[in-house]
Structure formats: C-alpha cells, structure tokens
C-alpha cells in the first residue's frame, strides 16, 4: 500500500478528543494528576480564607454580644494567616508539579512527532515544506506548553473555586445560589458555540504559522538564486503576505476571544443585581424564605464576587485553550498520518548477509494520481552482478532505484530480494543490507568523521581511516589539513561536489551493504577526484550486487550487464558490447557519448 497522502492536520478531532489523545501520547501528563488536583483544591479552599475571616470579623467580632471581641478577632486572624501559609505551600507544590508534568509530557510529544516525520513515507514527507514541518515540532508544541502550565493551573483552580464558592453559597441560602447559577446559565451554554468558532479560528492561525515558516525557510536555503536573480523584492513580498495572513488570523481569533470573555462580566452584573433583589424579596417573608437577614444578603453579595472571579478566569482559560488545542491537534495530526509503508518489524524477514539477487516480477509503479512510470518491469539480477541502468531522463530509471530500495511500493507486481518479497522484510534488516547512494550526497553540518560514520555508527576514527584507505582515498584524506575532523559545512557546502561524493562513498563502504544502489552523481568533478571516485567505486562494487543508475559511458562499459529503460519499460539488456551492436535506444545513447568524446 503506497502512501503519498498529505499530512493530516488534525482538524477533524474535537477539543476533548485532542486532550484525550494528547494524554495518551504523553502519559507523563497524567502522572500524579490527582495529587496535583488535590493540592489545587487545597489552594483554592485557602483562597476563601480571607473573605471569610473578614465576614466573620464583621458579623461576630464587631457586633458580638459584648461589642468588640478582640480575642475572637485575633484568633480568626491567626487562623487565617496559618491558612494562607498552608495555601501558599500547596500552591507552590501544585505549580511545580504542573510545570514538571507539562514539560515532560510535551518533550515526549515533540520527540514522538519528530520521529514520526522520519517514519513517514518519502512521498508524504515531500508534500509538506521543511519550514512547516519544523513548525509542527517547535512552535505548535510551544503553544501547548504555555497553556498546560498557566492555563492548566488557572483552570483547575477556577473549577475548584467555583465548587467551593457554590458550596458556601448553598450554606448561606440555596435560593440565592440558584439565582446566581441561573444568571450564568446562558454563559455556560454559549461556551459550546464559542468553542467551535474559536477552534476553527485558531486552527487557521496554526496553519498560517506553518506557512510563514515555510516562506521564510525557502529563500534562506535558495539564497544564491534569490540574490543572483535579485528577487529579494518578490521574496519579501511573499514573506510579508504570509506574515500578514498570520496577523489577521490571530487578530480575528483574538476578537472572538475578547467578545466571548466579556459576556461573563454581563452575567456577573446581572447576578449581583438579582441577588440583592431576590434577597430583599425573600426577606419580605415570602415562601421558601428561610431565615434571610440583611447580613446574609450582604454576605452573599461578597460571595458572588468569589464566584464570578473564577468563572471569568475559567472562561478565559477555556477560550485561550483553543489556541493550544489547535497547536496540539496539528502535532497529533502528524502522529495520525500513516507511517511508512508497513514495516513488518520484528515479524519481518531478515535478509541473509551475502550478495543479494534481485527479482522484479511484473512491477508497475505510478505516483499518486499520476500515469504509470514503470510498466511491467520484469527482470532478474544475479547475486554479485554489477549492473548499469541507463535511459534518457524521465525513462524511469531513478524510480526503478526507489522501488528497488523500497522507498516506495509498487502499485502492481512484486519486488524480491533473495527470494523474499520486499514488503515482508523488516526495515531494520533492509536498511542494513541495502544502501542507496543518491545523486546529490547530503551531508550534515558536522565533521567528515561524523558524516562517514553515519554509515556504521560503531565505526571509530580508525575504522573510518581504514575504509578510506581501502577505497584508495588515503592521499586525498592526507591532503585535508584537518583530516577526519574537517568540517563540511551546512549541507556539506564547504566541500566541493566531488568531495561530497567521496564522503558518501566512504559512508556506503562503512555500511557494508549486500546490495548497493548508486544513483550516479553527474556534477562535473575535477579529473583527479574523478579518478579517485572511479577507483573507490571499483572497490565498493566488488563482493556485492550493485545497481548503478548510470550517466557515463564508462560505467556502462565496465558493468557486467546494462539494462536500458525507455518510457518506463525495459527495452534492452545485455553487456555493453552486445548492446552497441544491437543499436536501438542504447545505440543512440552510445553514439552521442562517443560524439562528445571526439571533439
């Protein structure tokens, strides 16, 4: 099953599902959750201490049976002070724990998402721009971080405060409590509506961030083209557009947030008024009155404040949460995108460690929604053979290499190595036994040693030196002033194209594959280096099966066999000399090569 679908954006999952999935992916988030909640509630309970102390002082301390009751007031104050200290400690512990679990959970999320990007099929990776991918594992995760810590704290505390306030209100007067809740009912109901609108708005914001980063990254990587064609103006315009899109999306989301938040205030005003009004009405001795006194009504007015404040905060948290959830969603989206062409994993076959034979059984391949690029390719390559694959550009030879190394799966037919269908071979084994050296060697911004040992992580400087000598590159290495510690620069730019190829070959040699697939580099290289590359290749290709996508006549001449592709089909096959005699497509290619040489 060949993927090539775009990366999931996660738009389809709801906020609640996001949080659930998020907690699954980052189990650390659930660590000691109950403990943290308990601490939060303790902290919350502590927060009502001061208002109660004030109220009690007013009611009983000032208007007590003998006037001012100083010992009582002193007792109250000391109790309250103690409570404040305990609350402070509880808050400290809660906050510290929240930070710890949040940071740990998010680190896990980041790392899993990063790993998953690498697990995605090649075609899917190519559907998303570099900058946008980076934003998913950096910026999007950062949004979640801000929320989980502050939002999380405030959210938990607010809920706790609302619960505590409600309970205390019930003690004073259940009738008035109902009044308060009724006033806030419309707000709570409207939250659902706002949640949906906000989630859309913030989803757009996150997408815009990805686009913005992609727009910034592109001209940085293609700096030479931007400068030599002097398109800085147009490039800046594109970046500005992306920045502006992000800005307007953010502003719109913020407007929605501000509006939804302000509704809470209106509900509060209503609640304040109605508490007094209904309180008075109840005080007139009407039904269900209970023993309402003016003191109780006034005290209730204070309690309403205690209730309103956390509701406002809670609303704010809920609306701000949409931003974080939008970011969270996008990261989860990566994880939900199907990973590489099913890796059979530990149940897969392990390829034997000997030169591999290749078999293509009626293989077809097409890119998603595209025409067939490989058409009924049916061939066998004996183990240990050195094969050159030639054809004009677009004839399908590079695709052949991709199918051979299982970077993509065929849409029809089977590819077998040592008799095993590639799809049954575990990736671990596949990547060790089969190495593809692509046309343009990509090097990491590190030393030569690090780049070379990428082929075999266990290799130390001695092993690398030995590999270099085996490939006949000893004098080249000696010529480098810093030897193995030479830094190659970003993308290997500090080295010439030829030297980059050499490093790629050293890497391949260290990897010691049983099937070497080489997409021949074509950039011209100075002859001395070229000879070295040629010699290195000789060594590299002996003792294993090698398939070279060839651009040079010498490669075809030196191969045991040449396979000729034309428009996705194999049209000719045989040793060089035989094919020259045959003519046809190969004959044409050969003529132009020869013509080149004659000048």
């Amino acid at each position: 099953m060949s993927a090539g679908t775009a990366m999931a954006t996660g738009d389809e999952i709801t906020a609640w599902q996001t949080i659930k999935r998020g907690a699954e992916i980052s189990p650390e988030l659930k660590d000691g959750l109950w403990g943290t909640v308990l601490l939060a509630l303790l902290g919350t309970a502590g927060r009502v201490v001061v208002p109660i102390a004030v109220q009690q002082t007013l009611d009983r301390g000032l208007h007590g049976p003998h006037g001012l009751d100083l010992p009582f007031v002193t007792r109250m104050a000391l109790l309250a002070a103690l409570a404040l200290v305990l609350t402070g400690i509880a808050s400290y512990l809660m906050t510290a724990r929240l930070f710890t679990t949040a940071e740990r959970g998010l680190a896990t999320l980041r790392i899993k998402a990063f790993r998953h990007v690498h697990d995605l099929p090649l075609l899917t990776q190519n559907t998303e721009r570099r900058g946008a991918l980076v934003s998913r594992v950096t910026s999007d995760v950062d949004q979640v971080s801000q929320f989980l810590v502050f939002g999380g704290i405030i959210g938990i505390v607010s809920v706790g405060q609302i619960v505590v306030a409600t309970m205390i209100m019930l003690v004073y007067s259940w009738q008035l409590t109902i009044v308060v809740w009724v006033c806030f009912a419309p707000l709570f109901l409207s939250l659902r509506y706002f949640q949906l609108r906000l989630s859309e708005a913030y989803g757009l914001v996150r997408r815009m961030v990805g686009q913005m980063l992609a727009a910034v990254s592109e001209p940085v990587v293609g700096a030479v083209v931007v400068r030599t064609h002097a398109i800085e103006g147009r490039t800046q315009a594109r970046i500005d557009e992306a920045i502006a899109s992000y800005q307007s999306a953010s502003t719109r989301a913020q407007g929605l947030t501000a509006f939804s938040f302000s509704l809470g205030g209106v509900s509060a005003g209503l609640a304040n008024a109605l508490v007094l009004i209904v309180g008075i009405w109840l005080g007139q001795g009407h039904l269900w009155a209970g023993d309402i006194t003016s003191g109780k009504v006034l005290a209730f007015a204070f309690l309403v404040t205690m209730f309103v404040s956390p509701v406002q905060m809670g609303t704010q948290v809920l609306t701000d949460a949409q931003n974080a959830i939008a970011g969270w969603r996008r990261v989860i989206g990566i994880l939900d995108t199907p990973a590489d062409l099913d890796d059979p994993g530990t149940e897969g076959v392990a390829l034997p460690h000997r030169p591999l034979d290749v078999e293509f059984a009626h293989v077809d391949f097409a890119y998603p929604q595209g025409p067939l690029v490989l058409c009924d390719v049916d061939l066998r390559i004996a183990a240990g053979t050195r094969v050159a694959v030639v054809g004009e550009t677009g004839s399908g030879k590079t695709t052949f290499a991709k199918v051979l190394t299982r970077l993509v799966d065929p849409v029809g037919g089977e590819v077998r190595l040592a008799g095993h269908d590639l799809r049954t071979v575990s990736f671990d084994s596949l990547r060790r036994r089969v190495v593809l050296v692509p046309q343009e060697g990509f090097l990491f911004d590190s030393t030569l040693l690090a780049n070379a040992s990428y082929g075999d992580l266990a290799a130390g400087p001695d092993d690398v030196s030995r590999a270099v000598v085996e490939l006949g590159l000893g004098d080249w290495l000696d010529g480098l002033p810093r030897g193995l510690d030479t830094r190659v620069g970003p993308r290997g730019e500090s080295m010439s194209a030829g030297e980059r190829q050499l490093v790629a070959l050293i890497r391949a040699h260290l990897a010691d594959p049983d099937l070497l697939v080489l997409d021949e580099a074509t950039s011209a290289v100075d002859p001395a280096l070229e000879m070295r590359i040629g010699r290195a290749l000789e060594t590299l290709m002996s003792g294993r099966t090698s398939v070279t996508i060839a651009h040079r006549m010498s490669t075809a001449e030196n191969a045991d066999e040449v396979i000729v592709f034309d428009q996705g089909r194999v049209v000719q096959r045989g040793p060089h000399v035989a094919l020259v005699a045959e003519g046809g497509v190969y004959g044409r290619l050969h003529s132009s090569w020869v013509a080149q040489q004659a000048t």
């Binding site: 609350t87 400690i89 697990d119 950096t138 030599t228 692509p438 950039s523 011209a524 006549m553 080149q596």
Partner: protein, 593 residues
C-alpha cells in the same frame, strides 16, 4: 546591555525599554487599550460603590421597613447592569487592543528580521543555519512582545490602584498605611524572581533555536536518514535538545512556583494586617466599622491588579531574552555599498577583471592578480582543477561577494557602482546545483516577472526543457515540490537554465550547468546558446566547463591555475602547447566517458 552585575534590575530596566519601543510604535492602539483597562478599573471600583449605595438605600431600608420600593429595585438592576455592560466594553477594548498591538509589533519585527536576512551577505548566512533563523523570526519575536498582552491590564489597574489607595488614605490613614505595605513586598518578590529566571530564559530561547536547527537539518536530509535507516540516531540527536529544553523549563517552573503564590499571599496578609489594626482602632474609637469594611474591601479588590502587575513584570525575563536575540540580527551591519550608475541595454556585455584578488581564509589567497577581458558576444570557457577558484569566480562576477582587491567591470562599470538589482538585469548565473521553489513551472522560470508564455516556451526550448514540461499534467502550471523532487536532476538543471535565459541576459555564466543532462541533449543546448545566445540580443557566455564538447564550443579557453590565468587561447592551441591543460582535459575525458 550587560547583564553581569545586577540581572534583576537590568532585566527590569530592559523590560520596560522593550515596552517603550512598542508603545512608541503603536501609541493609538495602546491608548485605546489602556483606556479600556481604565474603564474596566474604574467600573470595578464603581461596582463596590453601587454595592454600598444599594446596601444603604435599598437593602437595609427594605429589611427594616418590611416593604420594597419598586423604584429602588429597578435602580439596583439598572445600576449593576449598566456598570457591567460598560465594564464589558472596557474588557473588549483592552483585550482586543492588547492583541492587536501585540500582533502588529510581531508582524513589524518579523518583516524587519526577514528583510535583514535578505540583505545580509552570504558569508553571514554560512554562519547561521536556516533553523536558527526560523527560530529568530518566530519564537524570539513572539517572546519579545509577549508582555504586551498583560500590559494594558497592568496600566489600567495602576489607575484603579491609585484611586483605591487614595480612597483608603481618605478613610483612615493608619489602616491604609498597613495595607500599603503590600507594595514594597511585591516589588522585592518580583525583582528576586527576575534575577533568578532571566539567565534561564536566555538559555531557553537559545535552546529553542538549536532545536529548530536540528529539526530543519534533519528534515532536509530526510532521504539520507531513511535510506540508511538512521531514524533512531536522528531522533536521539533531537531528543537531547528537547530534553535540555524540558529540564530548563522545569527549573523555571520551580522558580515561578514560588513567585506566583507569593503574589497571591501578600495581599491576603495585607488584609489580615488591616483587620488587626482596624479592630484595635475601632476599640480605641478612632475608626468606624464601616471604615474597616471599606478598606478591607478596597484591599481585596486591589489584590488582583497587584497580581497582574506582577505577571507583567514576570514576563520581562523571557521578553528581554527574545528581544536581545532579535536585535543581534537587526543590528548586524550590512555594509554592501551600492552606486547609481545604470548599464545600457541592447548589446552583449563586456566583461573585465582587473587584478582581482580573493581569499576565503585570510592569508590563503585563492585568486591573486586575476585580470582578463572578455569582449562582447564572445564565448569563454574557464577550465581548471577543483579549488582553482572557478566557482569563486562566479560568485565574484555576480557580486555574491566583493573581491579583496581589484575590480570586476561590466561594460566598464565597477559592480560596486551599480544600484541594487541592476546587475541581475544584465547578468545571469546558472549555478551548479539547481534550486527549485515551491511554485509552478512558470513561477520558477519567470520568478514573478511579467513574461509572456511564448517567451517562457522559447527559453524552455533553448534549454531543451520544452519536451518534458509539455508532457507534465498541467504544463507550465504544474507545481514543483519544495525541492523539485518530482523532477530528475537533469530536468531541474534545464529549468534552472531556462530561468536564466528568459531574462535575456547580456552576460550568461554557466557553472557546470549541463552536467546532469544527457550528452545528446547537452550538445543541443550548447548549440542553441551559441546560435542565438539566449535571445535576440547577443550574449557574452562564460562557461565553467569540463567536457571537451563544452569547451569546444568556446571561442577561447582560460586555463585557471594557481589563482591566476595560466594560459589562454583556443582549445586546440592549449591542447597543443600546454601539457598541464592537456593532462587535465584528457584525464577528465578518460574517466567520465
């Protein structure tokens, strides 16, 4: 901006400096937002007043008399709702205003930073990987302006605080004095927090950039990672940074965990203190119970703004860290000088190099005293070993770098005397590796210029790319992926060539621009170039070449060795008389065909 001696105070000062920049830049939005906050604050105090008024004029009378005056009830409703609605207006103005201000500042700085990226020379870019730049433009900018969000609230509450404090002092000086102790306490707490967290935030922002760098590079080389099965190693590399970031975040969190509860508790202790003093004063007859109520209530109200001011100040460390990082880029001097001489159109360009000298590494001359003249319309091949300076020559000819000594002259004008963008109108470079944008084929060729399709096809024809472009599902409108990966190397190269040709350059520089192309096709391209030079006007051609076929196309060959022109002449002449040249060219032929 040194942060050695007193990090706490420096962060405070710098943090206000950052806010100052924002306020100066967006004064109107800031005003609206602050007014909204003031409205909010005033109305919060009004709320207390309304409660007091309702108590005295409606609630207490109703309970005492046993009757309710409807007018009174209506007044209560109207007052509370009125205050609430106006307050809501204030909230919207404040929040939306703060948001708009924040986003505007972010957008402005992002534009400036990215503009700087486009201005800074290639040498600077080599030292600053793409991932870092992404982080600068995004995360650092965001961090720098983060305090704007709580700013209007904090400013607004200042007024609220002032009003409340004045009221408190009017009610009872002694109780008020006790209550006001909270302010210095909060200040000390804030400064201490800033002192400990600032260095951590600086390191965090740097780590964010490093993380971005690793991710960018890793995704760039995704295919290598995949084909060598190194997903695990790459993830470990990333995880190392992610874990460091996490640990720093936890440390910051612990510090914050002390700060926030303190901010909460201090006002609470203030109220208790007032309570104690108040009751004592009431006993001594110096104050009324009502006074105590009022002051306690005012202090409770003031607690929240104190927290919000604390939050604002708490954002400073991160903000200052981000701001400094952004300014490191913005303050980087761009010392490329330009002039205002323009070049004439029409004929092929004349190229002259005068005693050109250049070195990558100081002390190691790559090019030394290089002089040559290429007459208009001539085709010149530059041949030499690797590291003889051929590619460097192309960067000098296109002014990607300036020479250490000597001049590059096009039509007799020093490149440094040309205004920005002028050179690109006359000179085009086809680099060794073709870069494709995430755009359509047409977009990649025209690069946004207004070019008729027929001219695009003409350029494609000369580049021998018309065939495969026509065969693409959407022709010129087919989209190419970010790395142009749906095309082969040879196809990308030909598009790169067409891109240069479509601008009708008067001087065309090809740096091994046909290497990935089949020999047949290369021959056709070069013949086409020779014949019509890329367009109706002639073109001077400079070819960095290796293959005999390519070299053979040139009128003249320059043999570059030891940083200077070691020999020049026709290919045949050089073959005959220069053994080093012959060795080079023949050797190449032997190994590559």
């Amino acid at each position: 901006m040194s942060d050695a001696a007193e990090p706490g105070r420096t962060t405070l000062r710098d943090g206000f400096g950052v806010l100052g920049v924002a306020i100066r830049r967006e004064p109107w939005i800031f005003t609206i937002s602050t007014l909204g906050s003031l409205l909010f604050g005033a109305l919060t105090v009004a709320d207390a007043w309304v409660l007091g008024w309702s108590t005295d004029h409606v609630v207490l009378p109703a309970f005492e008399s046993g009757t309710t005056a409807t007018g009174g009830l209506v007044a209560v409703l109207a007052l509370f709702l009125g205050v609430a609605i106006l307050r809501a207006v204030g909230i919207v103005a404040r929040r939306l205003g703060a948001g708009v201000m924040q986003y505007r500042m972010q957008a402005a700085y992002r534009r400036e930073v990215t503009g700087q990226y486009l201005r800074l020379p290639m040498a600077w870019h080599q030292r600053h990987p793409a991932g870092q730049l992404l982080s600068n433009a995004n995360s650092d900018v965001e961090a720098a302006w983060a305090p704007i969000a709580p700013l209007p609230m904090a400013v607004g509450t200042l007024a609220m605080v002032v009003i409340a404090v004045v009221q408190m002092l009017l009610v009872d000086l002694t109780m008020a004095a006790v209550g006001l102790m909270v302010f210095p306490l909060v200040t000390v707490a804030t400064l201490t927090y800033q002192r400990f967290s600032s260095p951590l935030f600086t390191r965090i922002q740097a780590l964010r950039a490093e993380l971005s760098e690793v991710a960018h590079e890793s995704f760039d080389g995704a295919m290598v990672v995949k084909t060598l099965g190194r997903e695990g190693e790459e993830t470990a590399r990333f995880a190392e940074k992610a874990d460091q970031l996490r640990d720093l975040g936890i440390r910051v969190g612990r510090i914050r965990a002390v700060f926030d509860p303190l901010l909460e508790a201090i006002p609470g202790f203030g109220v208790l203190g007032v309570l104690g003093v108040g009751v004592w004063r009431i006993r001594n007859g110096h104050a009324d119970p009502g006074d105590l109520v009022t002051i306690a209530y005012l202090l409770t109200i003031v607690a929240f703004p104190i927290r919000s001011i604390g939050w604002l100040l708490g954002e400073f460390p991160r903000s200052v860290a981000g701001f400094r990082r952004v300014h490191r880029v913005l303050d980087e001097p761009v010392d490329t000088s330009y002039g205002d001489t323009t070049l004439g159109q029409g004929e092929a360009a004349r190229l002259e190099l005068e005693s050109l000298a250049y070195s990558y590494v100081p002390g190691q001359r790559l090019l030394a005293d290089l002089s040559l003249v290429v007459e208009p319309g001539r085709t010149v091949a530059v041949v030499g070993e690797t590291a003889s300076g051929k590619s460097t020559l192309t960067t000098l000819l296109t002014r990607l770098v300036d020479p250490d000594a000597g001049r590059v002259l096009v039509d007799g004008v020093d490149l440094r005397d040309l205004p920005r963008g002028e050179l690109a109108r006359h000179v085009a470079l086809v680099p060794q590796s073709a870069f494709m944008f995430d755009d359509t084929v047409r977009g990649n060729i025209t690069l946004g210029e207004d070019v008729a399709d027929e001219d695009v096809w003409a350029a494609l024809r000369t580049a021998q790319a018309d065939g495969f472009v026509a065969a693409l599902p959407h022709g010129l409108d087919s989209r190419l992926g970010e790395r142009g990966t749906s095309l082969s190397g040879g196809q990308r190269q030909r598009l790169s060539l067409a891109r240069a040709l479509v601008r009708r350059p008067r001087l065309l520089i090809l740096d091994d621009a046909t290497s990935a192309v089949d020999p047949e096709v290369e021959g056709r391209i070069l013949a086409g170039l020779r014949r019509d030079g890329g367009g109706p006007v002639g073109t001077t051609l400079v070819l960095i070449a290796y293959r005999k076929a390519t070299i053979g196309l040139a009128d003249e060959v320059l043999f570059l060795a030891g940083g200077r022109i070691a020999d020049r002449g026709t290919h045949a002449e050089l073959l005959a008389r220069n053994p080093a040249y012959a060795r080079l060219v023949n050797a190449y032929e032997e190994v590559t065909t």
